[in-house]
Amino acid sequence: MDKFDTLTGIAAPMPLVNIDTDMIIPKQFLKTIKRSGLGVNLFDEMRFDRQGNEIPDFVLNQDAYRNAEIIVAGENFGCGSSREHAPWAIKDFGIRCVISTSFADIFYNNCFKNGILPIALPAEAVDVLMKDAEKGANARMTVDLEAQTVTTSDGEVFSFEVDAFKKHCLMEGLDDIGLTMAKVDSIQSFEEQAAQARPWV
């Protein structure tokens, strides 16, 4: 997995609440058996008309935001389907960080498995960041995972919370499965004890 330490980049404002994973990557793109190449389909139905032409109003189609690396969004980002195709598409497009007041649980976890940092902040902070993002390409935000801060283009700093273990894995780009396999003795002794206690499982 790609490491995440600091990121300075353009933030795209998406003030809509309840942006669901069907919006992020519509179902017709779940037919792949690969993880790669989904960025061109990110937000497909908001981004393109049925003929494949760009919808000019959509934020990522505006010149200032084509190279966005951060999204600032309304509450409950990533709700709905568990599809990991959503963070795959976000990452493949080039977005490494999403900031909102809240995230749906499964999407939030999926981000950390893919080198994406989801940041939850209070509404007042997200309002300030949204306004900063609306300034366009010259207003670059900085996200520092080590320090757990987001800094606006004007230098205003907001601190965020992140689980220490998730932070560690993201900063080091660690493979979860490898970490868990190092605890295989605990899993095996659990299985032996469970086989006694609940043999029907």
Binding site: R35, E84, N110, D163, V201
Partner: protein, 467 residues
């Protein structure tokens, strides 16, 4: 010992390792797998040369992207992408030695219907699947939730998940439901009250007289939509109804093991003085047959209400409501029962079980549909067979419904079962998101009885008028 909730008890029984910061390895008793969210996980295992840790606890069935029309056991009758995903699951099931129900098997169906039906899902278990509606299995008092594909790979490789414990929320539905009000109306009404993010960070336990009175099918409908309220999982404490449902199922314990299992299952309830981080109480008598008007499952109103205006909302919801109204093509103030409907879909892991089909048949008996098209997609091959045996299929066909093979179908519309632009559908599924059932398709979520009523009148309809 300090008092515990049902969630606390199941959690404590499954912690295989706990780090100092509270990060746990939670042991998984049942891992359900389908064709859409698993290919990349199996590919990951192959690349790392890892086996499936517990193939006996891993059950696969294709459901999301399979056609629901006749002749589908021949891949030539599938779209190319479906055939590739189904072939990949066939191969992965064979190569890794996991349990499998191919499309040709009568036991095939929606993974969340097959699990309970075959007795894989039992009280007190941990159940995961790469699908958010895994919450369904909580109806058995099993801790069940959806995971992403990376976590699917993690469970395949280690039979555990890296987890931190969620908070406990109690949702109590007191008293008795009125006639025409169903489990679907309960679960939608709860989301209408809490919002789609109201459950974020929580595991919900549903309790109270109205929940106890529900059948297992109804309880599955309630827990199924816990995720739509943002919760990691929904739970209902097991009782005699649960045990009766499980007994005799192919993979349920037998003999002395059944006795031992049942004795333990009877300890699975929340202690009287257990701590709850949040409590919500709703009177059953306050719940009406409901319908969604917008593009979020929280956009719930009684069928007797009118289309709202964006100004009825606050904050970020004002813009979202206006966007929903525009998308849905609705005018504020219109009585919901004036809204004309093109299509009716009955099925899904929310409402594709036999009880749901019986409820629809009750309304449809001897009637003809007025909508342009109507489709019933049973949740499994066994549900389909039972509906045929009970004569329900004849009622549906005579009414003008298409009678399909089992699968997820138009709930997520990955297969060819899709709405066209602007088509308005009354659906027993779980999500009314923009484009969910087809590009620019419009979805109103309801119970099976309400869907049947709309099929007959061609409008959103109060099912109580047809009972």
């Amino acid at each position: 010992m300090s008092p515990k909730t049902l969630y606390d008890k199941i959690w404590d029984t499954h912690v295989a390792h706990e780090a100092e910061d509270g990060t746990c390895l939670l042991y998984i008793d049942r891992h359900l797998v389908h064709e859409v969210t698993s290919p990349q996980a199996f590919e990951g295992l192959r690349i790392a040369n890892r086996p499936v840790h517990a193939p006996d606890k891993t059950i696969a069935v294709p459901d999301h992207n399979v056609p629901t029309t006749a002749g589908r056991d021949d891949p030539k009758n599938m779209t190319e992408d479906s055939a590739i995903q189904v072939a990949a699951l066939d191969k992965n099931a064979r190569d890794f030695g996991i349990h499998y129900y191919p499309v040709s098997d009568i036991r095939q169906g929606i993974v969340h219907i097959v699990g309970p039906e075959q007795g894989w899902t039992l009280p007190g278990m941990t159940v995961v699947c790469g699908d958010s509606h895994t919450a369904t299995h909580g109806a058995f008092g099993a801790l069940a939730h959806g995971i992403g594909t990376s976590e699917v790979e993690h469970v395949l490789a280690t039979q555990t998940l890296i987890q931190k414990k969620s908070k406990n929320m109690k949702v109590e539905i007191t008293g008795k439901l009125a006639t025409g009000v169903t489990a679907k109306d309960i679960t939608l009404s709860v989301i209408g009250k809490t919002g789609t993010a109201g459950g974020t960070g929580y595991v919900i336990e549903y309790c109270g007289e109205a929940i106890r009175d529900l059948s297992m099918e109804g309880r599955m409908t309630v827990c199924n939509m816990a995720i739509e309220g943002g919760a990691r999982a929904g739970l209902i404490a097991p009782d005699e109804k649960t045990f009766a449902y499980c007994k005799g199922r192919p993979h349920a314990p037998k003999g002395a093991q059944w006795e031992a299992a049942e004795a333990w299952w009877k300890t699975l309830y929340s202690d009287d003085d257990a701590h709850w981080d949040k409590v919500i109480t709703i009177k059953a008598e306050d719940i009406a047959p409901v319908v969604t008007w917008g593009t979020s499952p929280e956009d719930v109103l009684p069928i007797t209400a009118n289309v709202p205006s964006a100004n009825d909302f606050e904050g970020g919801k004002v813009g979202a409501a206006q966007r929903s109204l525009d998308y849905m093509g609705l005018t504020p103030g219109t009585p919901l029962t004036d809204i004309e409907v093109d299509t009716v879909f009955i099925g899904s892991c929310t409402n594709g079980r036999i009880e749901d089909l019986r409820a629809a048949a009750e309304i449809l008996k001897g009637k003809k549909i007025k909508v342009k098209r109507a489709m019933i997609v049973p949740g499994s091959g066994l549900v389909r067979a039972q509906a045929e045996e009970e004569g329900l299929a004849d009622i549906f066909i005579e009414a003008g419904f298409e009678w399909r093979l089992a699968g997820c179908s138009m709930c997520l519309a990955m297969n060819p079962d899709q709405l066209s632009e602007g088509e308005r559908c009354v659906s027993t599924s779980n999500r009314n998101f923009e484009g969910r059932q087809g590009y620019k398709g419009r979805t109103h979520l309801v119970s099976p009885g309400m869907a049947a009523a709309a099929a007959i009148t061609g409008k959103l309809t109060d099912v109580r008028e047809m009972m």
